[in-house]
């Protein structure tokens, strides 16, 4: 049904993402795949409204992994306008749309074009990476009939799929309980005995962080800089030691988190902190404060390609870190 002629092409379907946080998290996990290098990415962005700056960041993000954006498929007018202003080709990822690509960018055409086609991919599997061809395939929903059930489907899918399958990784629970850990990596964080640390009059709650607005920042946070926001914070870049991130919702750092991170600062115990490298000097979630263990050997230079994304959350009154392991 769909025939695109994009050399070295990849379709990444992010139309299931409900907000920018999810979008970037999912995109980053896909971009980590070594086969993505040097590819031209066709992005499916769905209904998500993206500002020009946000789209620019995503573009920079993709380019930082030695790939490039070939075209963008979006249902949102705002995203379309942003893409056009950035000179990114907007097109439906379908057979008809591709000729426009031919007209504007003839260099995309290969003599023997790689044909990207939609396949009947199992619904539950959001991402499928084929090792031999290096293609990442997503289910592409184009027909009107599917639209109707779309909302319900994605809601269920995201809550079920994202933790494991879509990232194609294993999660291992590292429980932190006064310095006792289940893995050999010793205790990474130790709960601080600080007594009542929530501001007066603030009570514990568990608001769904997905309903909160998200602040999107594409910069490096340096020592002494603070970001405070009522909602989720997403940072594309590193948060250096001495910086502070305070959010009433989730905190996501697409980079090295080395400063202090306080998620759920107004008592939200479902808030999470996640980073490509979780080296935070202190982790705070709602009223729980944990300090990094002194024995943890953090190198002076933390720049590394060996990222091990981790996610911290509260479970049974403790801060638990879920570690994403690479499957070699």
């Amino acid at each position: 049904m769909e025939k695109g002629f994009v050399e070295n092409g990849f379709i990444i379907d992010l139309s299931n993402a409900k907000n920018t946080t999810q979008l970037v998290f999912e995109l980053s996990s896909i971009m980590e795949h070594p086969d993505v290098k040097g590819k031209r990415i066709c992005l499916k962005l769905g209904n998500l409204d993206l500002k020009q700056s946000q789209l620019l960041s995503i573009k920079a993000l993709i380019e930082s992994m030695d790939a490039s954006i070939a075209l963008v498929d979006t249902k949102s007018e705002q995203t379309e306008a942003s893409a056009v202003s950035l000179g990114i080709i907007v097109s439906e990822i379908s057979g008809e749309a591709v000729p426009s690509l031919t007209a504007t960018s003839p260099e995309y055409i290969q003599e023997e074009p790689v044909v990207i086609k939609e396949e009947d991919v199992d619904k539950g599997k959001t991402v499928e990476i084929q090792a031999d061809t290096g293609e990442i395939r997503h289910p592409i929903e184009t027909t009107e009939g599917v639209e109707d059930t779309y909302e319900e489907e994605t809601a269920r899918e995201i809550s079920e799929v994202i933790p494991a399958e879509s990232f194609n990784t294993d999660f291992e629970s590292l429980a932190l309980n006064e310095g006792i850990l289940k893995t050999e990596e010793a205790s990474k964080y130790i709960l601080l005995d600080t007594g009542d640390v929530l501001p007066q009059g603030v009570e514990e709650n568990s608001v769904n962080t997905e309903t909160l607005p998200t602040l999107y920042l594409n910069q490096t946070l340096r020592s002494g800089q603070t970001v405070t926001y009522e909602g989720n914070i997403l940072i594309i870049g590193d948060a250096h030691p001495g910086s502070e991130i305070v959010a009433t919702g989730d905190i996501t750092v697409w980079g090295i988190l080395g400063g202090i991170a306080h998620a759920g600062s107004m008592g939200n115990i479902t808030a999470k902190v996640r980073a490509l490298k979780l080296n935070a000097i202190q982790l705070r979630i709602a009223g729980l404060y944990a300090r990094r263990n002194d024995t943890l050997n953090v190198p002076y230079v933390q720049k590394t390609n060996e990222f091990t994304p981790e996610e911290a959350q509260i479970e049974d009154g403790k801060i638990v870190i879920y570690k994403k392991l690479r499957r070699d």
Partner: protein, 270 residues
């Protein structure tokens, strides 16, 4: 009990105020005196790093002043020595968050329950310096044997003399390199003392161990073998009123050098 409040200042940056504060504080605590270190370098705090306490700081001096916590809550106990505690500076604020009166009040409260309150002063002579000096009655001026540092130290001593509350000030000469003094490439200790006409409280040799100790978050006084650590321990003893001779910095290393040194001393006497 009324403790002594000592401010450690220099005027010029990078001469070793924070290193000196951390080491003297640790040395005094090791000798059994209850000591509090106050970092007043708001926005550029380092003292917590040198002590390896960065990950324990929840409240800072600004939180105390703005009454978000009690003073006791903000004091971070040292990992090894229960006699030593730290009142950290806020990293995300600047010097305008604190006034001289507020800092004096904190010093006055702290000296009632401690033997020593050491105030680590920021570089410069502006508000930060005025704040740090406000609560102190004694001062240690840190300088290195370089003209620029000495010029700034001279300015600081002038400012300290003008303050009625400061009853005594002493000079600490840091990063001394005996080999350079010998080859006439560095000002000698006597030269510096003569230029500044200020009583000396210590001479600290340049020691590469300082770099490692800073990076590890472990003050060099805890290293029994390091010469700089020994020099800092001596400074602490002098603060306590003991008469300790200054270290012989050009201690020769090898056997031949020792003999050579003995001869040269003999020569000097003749």
């Amino acid at each position: 009990m009324t403790g002594r409040v000592i401010v450690i200042t220099s005027g010029k940056g990078g001469v070793g105020k924070t290193t000196t504060s951390a080491n003297i504080g640790t040395a005094l605590a090791k000798d059994g005196y209850k000591t509090v270190l106050i970092d007043t370098d708001l926005g550029l705090r380092n003292l917590d790093l040198l002590l390896g306490l960065e990950n324990r700081i929840v409240y800072t001096i600004v939180d105390v002043i703005e009454e978000r916590c009690k003073l006791k809550q903000a004091l971070v106990k040292d990992k090894k020595n229960p006699n030593l505690s730290l009142l950290a500076a806020a990293q995300t604020r600047d010097k305008t968050a604190v006034t001289a009166e507020q800092l004096k009040e904190i010093c006055d409260t702290l000296k009632e329950e401690n033997d020593f309150v050491l105030v680590d002063c920021p570089a410069g002579i502006e508000q930060g310096f005025q704040n740090a000096v406000a609560g102190a009655s004694e001062a240690i001026v840190v300088t290195t044997p370089e003209m620029s540092a000495i010029r700034d130290a001279d300015r600081i001593i002038g400012l300290l003399e003008a303050k009625e509350e400061i009853t005594s000030y002493k000079l600490l000469l840091n990063r001394v390199r005996p080999s350079l003094i010998k080859s006439n490439d560095m000002m000698s200790v006597d030269d510096v003392v003569e230029i500044l006409s200020c009583p000396l409280i210590g001479i600290i040799p340049e020691d590469t161990g300082i770099i490692t100790s800073t990076n590890k978050g472990e003050p060099i006084v805890n290293d029994e073998d390091a010469l700089a650590g020994k020099a800092y321990r001596n400074v602490a003893l002098r603060i306590l009123g003991e008469e300790v001779p200054f270290l012989d910095l050009d201690e020769p290393k090898g056997f031949m050098a020792k003999i050579k040194n003995a001869f040269s001393k003999l020569k000097a006497k003749v």
